[in-house]
């Protein structure tokens, strides 16, 4: 409670807080995209041959694909030849402990409010950190190891657990699924890997912080999360980037595999640099996230999207197993010139599958927010259930809100409910708050957080607090 207070009081700075650049010496390869670059990345990471072949195959297919244009966003397509596909902070080859991490880098994380030391001591959250292209630190490894849980960078997993990586990589998001997933498959440099063994409940939140630091780089991380039968894991990712005039590309792929009776809770607080007030700069966030649920498994996506100039993201669930459950809880805020086209796909294949979609869009400034979703009930999906609620909140009349919910039903036993509303923050609500001594910015924060409550409640406590703070910050000064 007191924490909540702090947030509402702390709201003073409208500038993007994470826009600093850290001066770390980097190993960055020259710009451009071709087979040699892919071979170089693979070589630098000392990868097995099958993976190089897999990358090259993805690249071959990628070259035949075109950038998708169906999303309701407009932007100048990034020049894929002017990006460096590999940038790593220079450091000693292997780290024995956290003490060996570049002190500049540690300072960066302090500024981001995620001091590894703090995290370690207080919250019991295991953290993997990815800067630009590579993972730089993973905490709590031993403790998790005792339970048989593998939590490391995907590069490490490729070396240490190739059988798991080989079995599951590309199994949920095929390398040629779409333009950006193909690109990612060809050039991904790092990301997180996680495996929870049978019947194990992961005792702490697993967390990855992604940070783009170096100019002229893109971030192409790949996350692979496997929850074996009857296991449980809660995973959180956070993202920030420095303020830069150029548009930086982030094209990630996340694959979740929930085997029988497993449960995965995947939360994202996305705060990539959104560009300045005139719409200059900012991150292009083109992400493919998808999970597959086997029998009685459950995948729950929660996202708070406040950053990026352009977001294009549809965390999805393939409900393959009987009695499997998919959930999607989303808050997407757009302000100034931001554009977001986000939503989910729930593909019901198994019997007695259930999905829930709660989407809260908030548009302010000159921004456009889109909800795009698909609920598909396949022929064999007896007794499928879906409930969707897509609400939009508009602040001012220079922004737009759009909903594109596709519902396709091929089984008579399905029960689908879809609701959507559009509203605004009422003058009377603001005056009521004002009369009780609450200033306009605070009142907006209060009202917006109330509006998003159903989604914020899904986040682990410490991240919910962070998310609330972000919401207030990204909307400050947007009314009145």
């Amino acid at each position: 409670m007191t924490e909540e207070d702090k947030i509402l009081h702390e709201v003073t700075n409208t500038e993007y807080k994470y826009g600093f650049v850290t001066d770390i010496e980097s190993d960055t390869i020259s710009k451009g995209l071709n087979e040699d670059v892919i071979r170089l990345i693979s070589m630098k990471k000392n990868e097995p041959e099958w993976l190089l072949d897999w990358r090259l195959d993805a690249f071959k297919k990628f070259k035949e694909m075109t950038e998708p244009e169906w999303a309701n966003v407009t932007y100048k397509k990034p020049d894929l030849q002017s990006i460096s596909y590999y940038s790593a902070p220079k450091q000693k080859k292997t780290l024995e402990s956290l003490d060996e991490v570049d002190p500049e880098l540690l300072k960066t994380f302090d500024k981001l409010g995620i001091s590894l030391e703090e995290q370690k001591r207080l919250s019991g959250v295991a953290v993997d950190i990815v800067v630009d292209s590579v993972s730089v630190a993973t905490s709590f490894k031993e403790k998790l190891g005792e339970l048989g849980i593998i939590f490391c960078s995907i590069s490490e997993a490729i070396q240490e657990h190739p059988e798991l990586v080989k079995k599951y990589i590309g199994s949920v998001v095929p390398k040629t699924d779409n333009f950006y997933s193909a690109l990612n498959s060809a050039v991904f440099t790092d990301g997180s890997f996680c495996y929870i063994p049978k019947g194990t409940r992961c005792p702490m939140e697993l967390s990855t912080y992604f940070r783009i630091n170096q100019a002229g780089t893109g971030q192409f991380e790949r996350t692979l999360l496997i929850a074996d039968e009857g296991s449980y894991v809660s995973y959180l990712e956070g993202c920030t980037a420095p303020s830069r005039d150029e548009n930086q590309l982030h094209a990630a792929v996340v694959e979740l595999i929930a085997l029988d009776k497993a449960e995965i809770k995947y939360s994202t607080v996305q705060n990539w640099y959104p560009g300045d007030k005139e719409g200059k700069g900012g991150v292009f966030n083109f992400v493919t996230k998808r999970g597959i649920c086997h029998n009685h498994a459950k995948i729950s996506w929660t996202q708070v999207e406040t950053g990026s100039a352009v977001t294009w993201k549809y965390p999805s669930c393939i409900l393959k197993g009987d009695y499997s459950i998919g959930e999607f809880f989303s808050v997407a805020v757009t302000n100034n010139h931001q554009q977001a086209d986000t939503g989910t796909k729930m593909i019901h294949i198994g019997k007695n599958t259930k999905s829930t979609i709660i989407s809260k869009g908030i548009s302010a400034g000159k921004s456009d927010g889109n909800y795009r979703g698909l609920v598909k009930i396949m022929k064999g999906a007896e007794n499928a259930r879906n409930f969707s609620q897509c609400d939009s909140l508009l602040m001012g009349d220079t922004c737009g809100s759009h909903t594109f919910p596709y519902i396709e039903v091929k089984n008579k036993t399905a029960r689908i409910e879809h609701e959507a509303t559009t509203s605004k923050i009422g003058e009377d609500q603001l005056f009521y708050c004002n009369q009780r001594g609450i200033g306009t910015d605070e009142a907006i924060g209060l009202i917006v957080n109330g509006y998003c409550k159903d989604v914020l409640n899904q986040l682990p406590m410490e991240f919910a607090v962070e998310a609330q703070k972000l919401l207030s910050l990204s909307l400050e000064g947007s009314v009145g």
Partner: protein, 249 residues
């Protein structure tokens, strides 16, 4: 405490208040009565600082200071409380969260530290009892799905929490059954002191049986046309507003 001189107010070019004078001192209870459309609710909204209304003349002083240029929240921080005739719903924001924000914003404006959570909870419990409110009520979204009686009790609960210098009760009796009316009036009476003042806006005598006014003013066609003690309210109830109209002719 409150001094209004020759106040003139327009909304969308239509004059609602046409030269109103009123002075309320510490420790006093004033009742403003009048027929529908006389300008009662406009008066309360203008004191609280609602900006749809255009003040075209006159002054409002609070504690000796002109408050005309203050924002609504600044007036609230100075000690003005308005109990709304139609309290506003804010989905997803709990009563607890709302009141905590309001209290701490006022404290911040006064240069005080935020109130400790345990002190706040203690205070809330105390005031809840005063208004015979259920604890579960505190975690509900503010005013959302509240009955008429619950909304008004919630208003007086907030008044108790914020401890204002001047409480303006705008038609607080409307929509209340007799039990709820008693609870609300009882709450207001307990909060009354030598140092604060209450302005009751009402159409009927009913509430004034419980909150006994020191002064009664009749507002008619944008002006206070008659003032007296509590007996004036009884007379009005008896004779109706036509009596005032007749007298004015």
């Amino acid at each position: 405490m409150l001094k209004i001189q020759d106040l003139k107010v327009e909304i969308e070019g239509k004059e609602i208040i046409k030269g109103l004078n009123l002075e309320i001192k510490k420790g006093e209870v004033h009742a403003i009565m009048g027929p529908n459309g006389a300008g009662k609710s406009t008066l309360s909204a203008v004191i609280a600082g609602r900006d749809e209304y255009e003040v075209t003349g006159g002054t409002i002083e609070f504690d000796g200071k002109d408050i005309m240029d203050l924002a609504p929240e600044e007036r609230a921080h100075a000690g003005v409380f308005l109990s709304f005739q139609y309290p506003v719903e804010i989905p997803g924001v709990s009563v607890t969260n709302f009141i905590k924000t309001a209290i701490n914003e006022s404290r911040k404006a006064k240069g005080l530290e935020a109130m400790e959570a345990k002190d706040l909870l203690k205070l809330m419990r105390e005031k809840q009892q005063l208004l015979e409110m259920d604890k579960a009520f505190m975690s509900r979204s503010i005013n959302e799905g509240f009955s008429g009686g619950e909304k008004k009790r919630n208003e007086i609960f907030q008044m108790a929490m914020l401890d204002p210098k001047l409480a303006i009760l705008d038609e607080t009796d409307s929509g209340l059954d007799i039990d709820a009316l008693r609870i609300v009036a009882n709450g207001v009476n307990k909060l009354k002191s030598e140092d604060n003042a209450v302005m009751v806006i009402t159409h009927y005598q009913r509430l004034l049986d419980h909150i006994v006014p020191d002064f009664v003013h009749v507002l008619f066609d944008g002006k206070i046309v008659k003032s007296g003690d509590k007996n004036l309210a009884l007379e009005l109830e008896d004779k109706g507003y036509d009596w005032i109209k007749q007298e004015l002719k």
